[in-house]
Symmetry: D2
Subunit: 344 residues, 4 copies
C-alpha cells in the first residue's frame, strides 16, 4: 500500500535516529535541561536571528496550540482563528477545555484577512455590551494553513500591525513550517516570522522528527512560569533529550530546510503529474499538501493500492482528496502513483 | 560526572532504538492505529492475562495521571492519594487543573493504608454535610511508591475490596512498575495488578523507553470516548508508532522484565556497598530507588563527581539523598561510586 | 427618565415582596430545603403536569445556562446553539469556561432549524475524523429567542425528534418564558415544553421576581449529584427561601401567567403605537421585545427622555433599537413614549 | 421548633425589606450600575476609610471565594488556607473547579499562624523541585473563622507582613465579618482590615440580608476586567439593585454594626446560660457561634424542640454541637432554650 495520506506516515529522518543512537548512553539531566536541548535552542536562535528567543520543546501540535494559547490568554479572553483553523475544528475542543473560546473569522483558503481582523476588533469595542462578551485576546494563524496555502510577508506584516494596534499576541501554528519556508512561492523567512509573531512553533513531527515541536517566544516573550505551566498541562517530557537531540540534528547543516525542500519538490512533481493527466485542483497549494478533484469512480479503483485523505465532497460524482508529500516521499512512489492513475 | 540522579538519565534500551530504526520507513497510519501499536497491545494483553484490556499509549507519567483521572472521575469527585503521592506534590497541580481535588490520606513510607482508606470513606458519608464536600471518586496509589516501597498482594486486595464496597476505581501509577514487579520482595504479579485495579499504567519512560506509558483499563474498562478525551487533553501522539514500536520491543522475549531485574540487582549491589560502609537508610526500599543518610560534609565532597537527588534534611549534619539505578546502570559505575565514597 | 431598556428595570411584583415580608421571621433550613421552596416546586410540577420533574432554583440566566449545560454535557461534548444564542454571544464565555465549545448553527430571527440541526448531526458522524472533533452533546434554544421570536409546537416537536434520534438533550433557555407562553401567537404550552425538552428554566428575574430561575429537568432527569454540582459552581443560595418564596407567589393563582400577559399586552400597545406612526419593525416579534427601526436623528432627540437598547445599525441613517415591556410596564408610560415620539 | 442551627434561618432585617419595597418601582439600569449600588459602595468606602476601594456585590460566600480567588491567582498558583478553612472543606471543590489547588496549613481553632505561613513559603522556595509544584499564590483566612474565633490586629499585621514579603495577596472571608467586628474581644476594625488585606468581603447573607456579599479590593486593587470575570463565572446579578439596596440600608446609620452587636450579645447570653448550667465549651468563641459539649442523651431529648448543628463527636457519650445566634435572635428564644435545657 502506497501512502500519501499525510506527512507523518514514516518515522524520522535517519540522521535523527543516528543522533539518538550516538547520544544514547550519555547521562543527562531531565526536563529539557540536557545539553542537546540547550544546543538545539542555540542553533534555532541563530536561525531565527533572535538571540533572546525563549524556546521550549513540546511533543505535538495540538498540545502546543493548547499550552501556548492558554499561556498567552487572560481568563476573559478567547483566540481569533479562521473557521477552518485546526484549533477550531480538529483538536477536540482542546482550546475550550482550557476555558477559552475560539472566535472565528471567515477563512480564505485557510487564511484570515488582516482587514477583516481589524474590523472584528473595531466592532467588538464599538459594541457597548462588550464587557459581557469574550475578549479577543490573541490571533491564531497556521502557516502553511490546513489548505496548504501561505501568507505573504505583506499579509503577515498587516496582521502584525493590527495585533500591535490592539495589543494582542499573534501566534503562528507552524506544524508544517518547513514546507512553507521552502515553498518556491513564499517571500517569508524564518527571521521574518520571528520578527512579526509573538509566538510560533517550528514543527518537527511532520517535518522529519519522531515527535516534537519547537515553541518559540521571540524577544524573551515567554509567558510567566511557562515551565510550570507546561508541567501542569501534562506536557513536560522527562527525557527532554528525545526532542532536543532531534532538533539539534534538524538544525545542523540546514537539514530541516533541505528535507522540507525535498517535500515541496515532490509535491511539485505530483502536481505536474496530476495536471498532465487533466486533473483539476481544489486549491492552488504551493506547499506539500495537494488538493485534487478526483472522480469517485477513480477513487474506488485506487482504494486498494493508495492511501490519501478524503477532504470533502466536490459534486455528485467527484471528491476533493488530499495527497501529502513529506521529507520521506520517494520520487519513485510519485511515479508509482501516476502509473496507478493511468492503469486504474 | 557519574549520575544516579534518577532513572531517566539515558536514552533508550538499544533494542528499542534498533526497532525504531528497523521499522522507520514502513508507512503507517497515525494516532496509535499503526500495526506496531496494535501488536504491542496484544503482547501486553497476553502479559496481563486479560484479552479484553483497553490499552492506550501516552507520553509521560504526569500526563497519564491527569488524563486517566480526569477520565475516571465525575465532575463532583476528587481522588484520594497519599500526602506524598506524585499527584499531590510534584505535578504542578495537573489534577486540580482538570477541576478535581486531591484528597489526602497519611503516607506510610509512600503507601496508603486500606483501613484508613475505608475509615475516610465511611466518615465522609457519615457527615451529613457531605453533599457540600468533594466526593471521593477514586483512589490513586503508586507502585513502587515515590519512596521505592511496594504494596503486598494482601494490601492491594484489601484496597481493591474497599474500592468495590464504595464503587470507586482503584488507579495504580506504575511509572516504575517494572522495578516493582522484579523486586525480590514482592508477591504481586502483573496479572494480579490487572485483576485488582481498574486502571494503571506500565511505565516506559523510566524503564528503558525514550518516552511512553502503556495505560491499561482492564476488562474493557476505558472511560467513554477516551480517544477524544486524550486528544482534547493535548496528549494524542500523531506518530503513535514511536511508542508502539518501543512497547512492542519491551514486551518481546520479556525484555521489560529483564531490564527491570537488572536495575533491581544494581540497586542491591549499591545498597550492599553503602551498608558495608556503615551507611544507614532512611527507608528500606526493595526497588531501584535507595534513600541513604549521608553527612553533608561527605555530600559536599561528592558533589563534583556524582549526581544524586537531594530528598530532605535528616538532621543538622546530614541529609537523605536518593540514588536511583535503572535498566542502564552499569555495575562498574556502582563500583566507581563506592570507590568515590571511600576516596572522598 | 422613561425606560423601555429591558425587562429588569424594576424590582419585584408587589405580591412577591409581600410574601417575602410575610414569611420573613419564620425560621427555615437553608440551601433550598425550606418549606417555601418545596411548596413552590410542587406548584410548578402541577403547572407542568409532570409530578416527577426535578426542580432547582438558581439565581440568574447565565448561571442557569452554565450550570445546567455543564451538568448535561460529557467532557468531550459541546452544545449546539444559534449563532445569535445568548450562550454564544453575551455570557462572556461562561460555557467555554466550563470546558465546552458552543457549536453554532445559522440563526433564523434567533431560531435554529430542526432540518439544519439534523444535517449538522448527520454530517458530523459522516466525517471520519469526528473522534478528533467536539461531539455535539446537546442543543440549546431560547424561547422566546433573543429576538423575541417563538418556536411553534411543530418546530419544537421536530427538534425534539432530532434530539431523540441522536440521543442528546434539548435544553430551552426560558429566561423570558412567561412572555412566550402568553403571546397571542403561540401554540406551545408549559406542559408541551416539559414534554418536549430534557431541561429548561422558567425565568423569574425578567418576569416579576427580584432574582431567580426555576430550572426543570422533567421526568426525574436531573444530572447526577446536581446539588453538589450547583455548590461547586458557586451557584448555591444559602437562603434558598429568597427564591422559593417568590416562585411560590408567582405560581399561586396564575400570577406568573397574568403578569406575563400584561407585558405582552403592553408590547402590543407599543407596537400599534409605532405602527400608527409609520415605523417599521426589524423583526415581527409576538412577545415583549419589539425591534423598531428608528432614524438616528429621532433617537438623538429621544435620548434625554427615554431609555431603550441599541441593537444594531440599520442603514446610514437609522438604527434598530429594542423597546422591552415587562410585568411592570404601565400603560400610561407607553402613552408617554408615543407622546414623546410625536413631540420630538 | 426553635432554631439555633445557623445564622441564615430568617429572611432579612425589616429595614432592608422596607428599602426594597420603597425603591421597587424606580427604574434602574442593571448589572450593578444602579444608583442604590453606587450609593451603597460610597457608604462602604466611607466605613472602610478607603475612597479608592473597588467594590463588587456578589450573591453568596462560596461564590465570592471562588470568583475572587480565581481572579487573584495565576494559573500556576494555589491558595494557602487552614485545613479547616471553608474553601478546603465545605465548598464542594469550588476552588479546584477553577483549576487552583488549596494548599493547607494546620488550623489552630480555625486560624492559621503567620510563623507557619512564613515557614511554608520559605520551605517552598528552598525545595529545588518547586517549579514542578503548585506555587503558593495567595492566602485565605476567615474572620471570624469557621470556629467563631478571631485574629488579633497583631496577628493580621504579621500575616500581612509575610504576604508582602512574598508578594502574594491576603484574602479574608468575611461571611460573618459583622459578628467579628462587634465582638467585645477584638481590636480589629473595618479600616484595619481594609489596610491589611488585599481582598475581603463584608458578609450580608449571614448578617441581615436576604443575600449578598460586598467584595472589596482596597486601593483600586480589583483584578483585571473583574466585571467580565464575574459574568463568565455566572455570578453577575441582572437586578444588581437587589443587593445594592440591601447594603445601602445596612450601611446607613450603622445598621450593620448594630445588628451584629445584637447577635454577639445574644451569643453571650446563651453562653452564660450554658455556663450556669455547667456545660463546657469546645472552643472559647467570642462571636455568634458557640460550640458546646452536650451529652448525646440530652441531645436526643432536645431533638424535637430545638435545631442546632452537629459539629463532631466529642467522646463516647457526648458531642460538640454548634448554637448560632444572629441579627434575628430574640432574647426570649434564648430563654426558651435554657428552659428546654432545664426541662428535658
Amino acid at each position: 500500500m502506497l501512502s500519501f495520506e499525510n506527512d507523518y506516515s514514516e518515522g524520522a529522518h535517519p540522521k535523527l535516529l543516528q543522533a539518538l543512537s550516538d547520544t544514547n548512553f550519555v547521562q543527562q539531566v531531565g526536563y529539557g535541561e540536557d545539553e542537546y536541548s540547550l544546543r538545539a535552542k542555540e542553533k534555532i536562535r541563530a536561525a531565527l536571528g533572535d538571540p533572546e528567543a525563549d524556546i521550549f520543546f513540546l511533543v505535538g501540535g495540538t498540545q502546543s496550540n493548547q499550552v501556548v494559547l492558554d499561556g498567552l490568554l487572560h481568563g476573559t479572553e478567547g483566540v481569533i482563528a479562521a473557521e477552518t483553523g485546526h484549533v477550531n475544528v480538529h483538536e477536540a475542543g482542546a482550546i475550550e477545555y482550557t476555558g477559552h473560546k475560539v472566535l472565528t473569522l471567515p477563512a480564505h483558503e485557510g487564511r484570515i484577512d488582516a482587514g477583516e481582523l481589524k474590523a472584528y476588533l473595531r466592532d467588538f469595542y464599538a459594541d457597548p455590551t462588550y464587557p459581557h462578551m469574550v475578549y479577543p485576546g490573541g490571533v491564531y494563524i497556521s502557516h502553511p494553513t490546513e489548505y496548504g496555502t501561505l501568507y505573504t510577508r505583506k499579509e503577515l506584516e498587516e496582521m502584525h500591525k493590527v495585533c500591535r494596534e490592539y495589543d494582542i499576541p499573534l501566534f503562528l501554528d507552524g506544524a508544517r513550517l518547513g514546507y512553507g519556508l521552502m515553498s518556491g512561492e513564499t517571500d517569508l523567512t524564518l527571521p521574518d516570522i520571528a520578527a512579526l509573531c509573538d509566538a510560533f512553533y517550528i514543527g518537527g513531527t511532520k517535518v522529519g522528527a519522531l515527535c516534537g515541536e519547537a515553541v518559540v517566544f521571540p524577544r524573551h516573550g515567554a509567558p510567566k512560569r511557562f515551565i510550570t505551566h507546561i508541567k501542569q498541562h501534562g506536557a513536560m517530557v522527562a527525557k527532554g533529550r528525545l526532542i532536543g537531540v532531534q532538533f539539534d540534528a534538524l538544525f545542523t547543516d540546514g537539514l530541516y530546510f533541505d528535507i522540507s525542500r525535498h517535500a515541496v519538490d515532490m509535491a511539485k512533481k505530483l502536481k505536474q503529474g496530476f495536471e498532465q493527466r487533466g486533473y483539476r485542483f481544489f486549491i492552488d497549494s504551493p506547499t506539500n499538501q495537494q488538493f485534487v478533484i478526483v472522480s469517485n469512480r477513480k477513487l474506488a479503483r485506487l482504494e486498494s493500492s493508495v492511501r490519501y485523505s478524503f477532504w470533502q465532497k466536490y459534486d455528485a460524482e467527484s471528491s476533493v482528496v488530499r495527497f501529502a508529500t513529506s521529507w520521506a516521499t520517494k520520487p519513485e512512489n510519485v511515479d508509482r502513483l501516476m502509473a496507478l492513475l493511468d492503469e486504474t
